[in-house]
């Protein structure tokens, strides 16, 4: 279809499109690349020009107890959030796609809402509620809050996948005498695996990344990684922060990439060549 009479203005428009696209990609990655490069700067000050290559800021980071504690805290919260959100989200998507029940439409709108309501509002809301019933901020509250933030995305991913799984498979299992639960476990869940892996990864990153809401919800004295970075930034931009940023980039990009590879090898057999099967 591309062959159809290329003309001059079309060519220029296409070149312009390509140029803007390139600029956008540079725009997206320039600050990230600069941060990674600067993390190896030997200079005391967080900025250019580079005065030499050094790993000292990474060494310093490894000895920074506050950062390590925050890192562990975030890791745990993100792991629990990822597992719990995916379990809840997959089950919800299953119900929303397979079942007809009153209020289904309202519920599916409500489920997306946490992704659209600004975090500041969600943050304040929960605080006001627990203040009204006189409860302290706890770790449990923080984790449940993170689950709330991640749930829309997991439900959407699982729903998109669920739509592509034909219900006759389940019905066949049921008619052969399988229980509802075992048909879900044996038939539906294995077919849903890509959505499950995707959900876990996405929920993990959403939780590990969350700043605004965590600022409101964290219990007194608890810092998550992003809030820790934020409070470090209030003091100054040090090369240590760039090193910390680089480590975080490695963690948050590395984990999904590895996950994505697993995902791809899982679905490779099915999807090779097909354009897109989860069309809604």
């Amino acid at each position: 279809m591309k062959a159809a009479r290329p003309n001059r203005e079309g060519k220029w428009a296409w070149r312009l499109t390509g140029f803007v696209t390139l600029c956008v990609y540079i725009f997206m990655f320039a600050p990230i690349v600069a941060t990674v490069i600067l993390s190896f700067n030997a200079s005391m000050f967080g900025g250019f020009p580079m005065t030499g290559f050094s790993l000292q800021w990474y060494a310093k980071l490894m000895g920074n107890e506050a950062v390590l504690t925050a890192f562990r805290t975030s890791l745990w919260i993100a792991l629990v959030t990822a597992v719990a959100t995916t379990a809840i989200g997959v089950v919800t998507a299953f119900a929303l796609v397979r079942f007809e029940f009153p209020g289904k439409q309202a519920l599916s709108t409500l489920v997306i809402l946490p992704a659209l309501v600004p975090e500041t509002i969600l943050g304040v809301g929960l605080l006001v509620l627990i203040k009204a019933i006189d409860q302290p901020r706890t770790m449990l509250l923080l984790v449940l809050g993170h689950i709330l933030l991640a749930v829309p995305y997991v439900v959407l991913i699982a729903q998109a996948r669920m739509v592509g799984i034909r219900r006759v498979y389940e019905e066949a299992a049921l008619s052969l005498g399988a229980s509802r639960f075992s048909s879900f476990r044996e038939i539906t869940l294995p077919l849903l695996i890509p959505a499950v892996v995707g959900g876990v990864l996405l929920a993990f990153t959403i939780s590990f990344d969350n700043t605004s809401a965590s600022l409101f919800w964290r219990p007194a004295g608890v810092e998550t990684m992003p809030t820790q970075i934020l409070s470090m930034l209030k003091i100054s931009i040090s090369p240590e922060i760039n090193a910390l940023g680089t480590v975080m980039i490695l963690v948050t990009v590395g984990i999904p990439l590895i996950g994505g590879l697993i995902l791809q090898s899982l679905t490779k057999l099915k999807r090779r060549g097909e354009p897109k099967e989860e069309v809604r």
Partner: protein, 292 residues
């Protein structure tokens, strides 16, 4: 055969959605309801309020231009950001859709990667570009174009730039998804009928991709107007947005009733825009965009 009747039993559905429903009720619906009630509470002193009902918070909000100024600035920044995202995001989306490059997925992956990188880090990384010792200033100084560093950080431009960096992938993916839904034979048909490629774009591709563009605009606007971290890191005190105002009112002044009032205002205002959008476009477009 009895199975058939219980196969898609609504009661089972309710059990399945119960966890999400409880979560949404206790962490979303109830908090917002309580917050709405809190706007009528009386502020006594920092951290203390009584449940004596008053409209003082609302009166203060509507009469003090301090608050409306914040609101207008927030809406302006959100609108500028969304429009810039729309203009700058359409090109890459179109490019990825139309390119004959075989590894399109790579271009898409590169857009998704920034999503994974901590938002706080992406935001502060701009300081390494725009700061006094950032790439731009150091390069310009070295080349002798300027004698002293330009002040590019801590102003509204930097805030918008940071928001743009955060929101562009949302826009690009939204537009891309909607372009992907276009039947390409329509364009071939237009071309074979004698349209130039520009005409085919104007008459076919652009109109058919508008739902994605509109969804992207709404998403970018809402997320920009609700932002907290970006103005905090890249803006000066004067560039604080509504989110920062809410945070300071609650965490700094401990004026909970006023903080609740401000939150409800932001919620209603952004909800108003979302409602207009849903009225004309429906929710499904946003859903597609969010699911990537």
């Amino acid at each position: 055969m009895n199975n058939r009747w219980t196969l898609y039993d609504p009661r089972l559905a309710w059990m399945l959605v119960a966890p999400v429903l409880l979560l949404l009720i206790f962490f979303l619906v109830l908090p917002i309801a309580v917050m709405a009630a809190y706007t009528f509470f009386t502020f006594v002193t920092a951290g203390v309020e009584t449940s004596a009902l008053t409209t003082a918070n609302w009166q203060e909000f509507f009469t003090d231009s301090y608050y409306s100024g914040f609101l207008l600035k927030t809406l302006r920044v959100g609108a500028i950001t969304a429009l810039l995202c729309g203009v700058l995001g359409y090109f890459p989306a179109y490019f990825i859709w139309a390119t004959s490059f075989r590894h399109k997925w790579l271009l898409l992956l590169l857009l998704i990667v920034p999503f994974w990188i901590s938002f706080t880090i992406r935001t502060f990384s701009w300081i390494n570009i725009l700061g006094e010792q950032g790439v731009i200033n150091v390069a310009l100084l070295k080349m002798g174009i300027i004698n002293e560093p330009l002040q590019m950080l801590y102003n509204e431009g930097a805030v918008i730039l940071g928001l743009l960096h955060f929101l562009l992938p949302y826009m690009i993916l939204n537009v891309y998804v909607s372009l992907e839904g276009i039947d390409r034979t329509l364009i071939s048909a237009a071309r074979s009928m004698g349209c130039t490629s520009a005409q085919a774009f104007r008459e076919v591709t652009l109109p058919l991709s508008l739902p994605g563009l509109a969804a992207g605009l709404l998403l970018c606007f809402v997320l920009a107007a609700g932002s907290y971290v970006t103005p905090q890191l890249l803006g000066s005190g004067r560039d604080a947005l509504f989110g920062n105002l809410i945070y300071d009112t609650i965490m700094g002044e401990l004026n909970w009733p006023m903080g609740a009032t401000l939150s409800i205002v932001l919620f209603v205002v952004l909800g108003f825009f979302a409602a207009i959008y849903t009225r004309y476009m429906g929710m499904s477009q946003i859903v597609k965009g969010l699911a990537g």
